[in-house]
């Protein structure tokens, strides 16, 4: 049993070891930069009493806010938030499909110009702050939840388009090949093979995005684009912790409910 191993794989390991160290060095530099660059504030002298009043407020929520028939209570605003997220995500899912095919890399194209440009556009949409979008839409349609719907539907394209395009890139091309080899044309391939194959993933990603939209629809409230966000910000700014508590409770319940519902849906549809 002779046990010499050829030199070549050994030298390869050496390079790998160096490479590893290099990465480690890069990571170390990045973290050093991150830690030393920030000025940390420690716990405040007031932290204890502030925390105490926050906790106190959170455990004694302002129940009177739950429902009072004025249309500006927790229940109505949460429903409004849901409606904004639902419509916004739905519209976004529709618009995202062409974007996704634009940005999906396919083997054939030249230098990935098409998919590359699609990806940049999607990134730009994702990076465009929701708040600025909301302002733009408020300018167009006035303050209120309609502007919120539009802001959510445009903003979500960034993420949905990206997820969709990745799904397209990774999808099993088998069914498409089968229709091609049966003599189908482009539209037939798309409708009979591509769409049915990709649909479950599209739906699943849309539900996922809906969950996120529900959670972040509160941001829109900051600029008056509707939903539970406005009262939340006001309550925080005036340190009305019992009010914050009940709103938080409402959001938590809503999101948990949505999560479990969409989990069920996902199982049912896929």
């Amino acid at each position: 049993m002779q046990t010499t191993i050829s030199k070549e794989p050994l030298s390869l390991t050496l390079w790998r070891r160096w490479q590893w160290l290099l990465w480690l060095a890069v990571v170390a530099v990045v973290y050093t930069w991150a830690v030393t660059g920030l000025h940390f504030t420690g716990l405040q002298e007031s932290a204890a009493s502030v925390s105490r009043s926050i906790v106190h407020g959170l455990v004694q929520p302002d129940w009177s806010y739950v429902y009072n028939g004025s249309g500006e209570d927790l229940v109505s605003l949460i429903l409004q938030t849901l409606a904004i997220a639902f419509l916004g995500t739905f519209i976004s899912a529709l618009i995202s499909v062409p974007f996704a095919f634009w940005a999906a890399r396919s083997g054939k194209e030249w230098l990935h110009v098409r998919s590359g440009s699609g990806k940049v556009v999607l990134t730009l949409i994702r990076t465009f702050p929701e708040i600025v979008l909301a302002i733009m839409f408020i300018k167009a349609v006035g303050p209120g939840s309609y502007a919120g719907v539009l802001a959510v539907s445009i903003h979500s394209i960034g993420m949905l388009g990206k997820l969709f395009s990745e799904a397209i890139e990774n999808m099993d091309r088998g069914a498409e090949e089968a229709i091609t080899s049966a003599g189908g044309n482009g539209a037939q391939i798309f409708i009979l093979a591509t769409l049915p194959t990709i649909m479950p993933e599209f739906i699943s990603y849309t539900l996922y995005r809906f969950e996120i939209a529900v959670r972040s629809a509160s941001i829109l409230g900051m600029v008056g684009a509707g939903g539970i966000g406005t009262p939340m910000i006001f309550a925080i700014q005036t340190r009305n912790w019992p009010r914050v508590g009940i709103i938080l409770l409402g959001i938590v319940l809503m999101v948990l409910l949505i999560d479990s519902l969409s989990e069920q849906l996902r199982k049912r549809l896929i």
Binding site: G174, A175, E177, A178, I179, T180, S181, A182, G183, G184, N185, A187, Q188, I191, L192, A193, P196, T197, M199, P200
Partner: protein
């Protein structure tokens, strides 16, 4: 019958974009109605060979003729008509898993319909009838309304064959149609292919790993190694030693 071969390869070469040689100077004819088995190690170029026949892959040089027409000139509609007469069966079935068996089988018929009709699934009653018959030929009519992902591997492969039958193909290409099937199902699938070959006179070309199966079903065996034909004999003259040549590692 000997008159003109249904498929003929002339100096065919295929080099992939990354430089891999897929096929190297392939020259042979396939007469109408033959049951040809292609054997070879993994990576030998079997799939490549099959896929050049219906232009799923383009060749780099040389010429492939089907029914005496060079296929490289086809485009668009005429290419689709070419593909229509060549059925293809895949190792992993390539069904739309979430659609019903009926829908999958009818999909084989799309090239006979204008786009809008096929997209709206407006298939004629006659074709629906034909779908049932195709499924009956593979003994699977009772699964007509089942979803494709509810079927076992062997059943899925039979659905794929039924889909191919919908095309009324003159040629069937089968790329390792029985890998990952158990011996019993393997036999069923190979028997169906043999029957199509004998009863309907369809020319069948099958890629196989198993030499035993090749000997049991083929009229003729072609061996590939590294993209080259290293062996080409009618079944009567096949010997163990010859086949081992195919399986030599390079």
């Amino acid at each position: 019958m000997e008159a003109t071969p249904i498929i003929s390869f002339k100096n065919v070469n295929k080099i992939y974009d990354n430089g891999t040689v897929g096929l190297k100077d392939i020259n042979f004819d396939i007469p109408r109605g033959e049951f040809l088995v292609v054997v070879g190690l993994s990576g030998a170029g079997k799939s490549t060979l099959l896929r050049t026949i219906n232009r799923m892959h383009e060749i780099t040089s040389g010429e492939i003729r089907i029914e005496n027409e060079p296929i490289s000139q086809y485009k668009g509609r005429s290419l689709r008509l070419l593909r229509r007469k060549i059925g293809m069966i895949f190792q992993n079935f390539n069904l739309v898993k979430r659609s019903s068996v009926a829908k999958n089988v009818l999909a084989g018929r799309v090239s006979y319909y204008p786009t809008w009709k096929s997209i709206l699934s407006l298939f004629s009653a006659a074709d629906k009838q034909k779908a049932v018959q195709s499924l009956q030929r593979v003994s699977l009519a009772e699964k007509l309304y089942a979803r494709a992902d509810e079927l076992s591997g062997g059943q899925q492969q039979r659905v794929a064959i039924a889909r191919t039958l919908m095309q009324d193909p003159k040629i069937i290409l089968a790329d390792e149609p029985i890998a990952s099937l158990d011996p019993l199902t393997t036999k069923t699938v190979m028997d169906i292919l043999k029957r199509l070959n004998q009863e309907d006179g369809i020319t069948v070309i099958v890629n196989l790993h198993s030499v035993a199966l090749a000997r049991a079903y083929a009229d003729r065996i072609v061996g590939l190694r590294a993209g080259e034909v290293v062996y080409d004999e009618p079944i009567g003259q096949v010997t163990e030693a010859d086949l081992n040549r195919v399986y030599q590692t390079v």
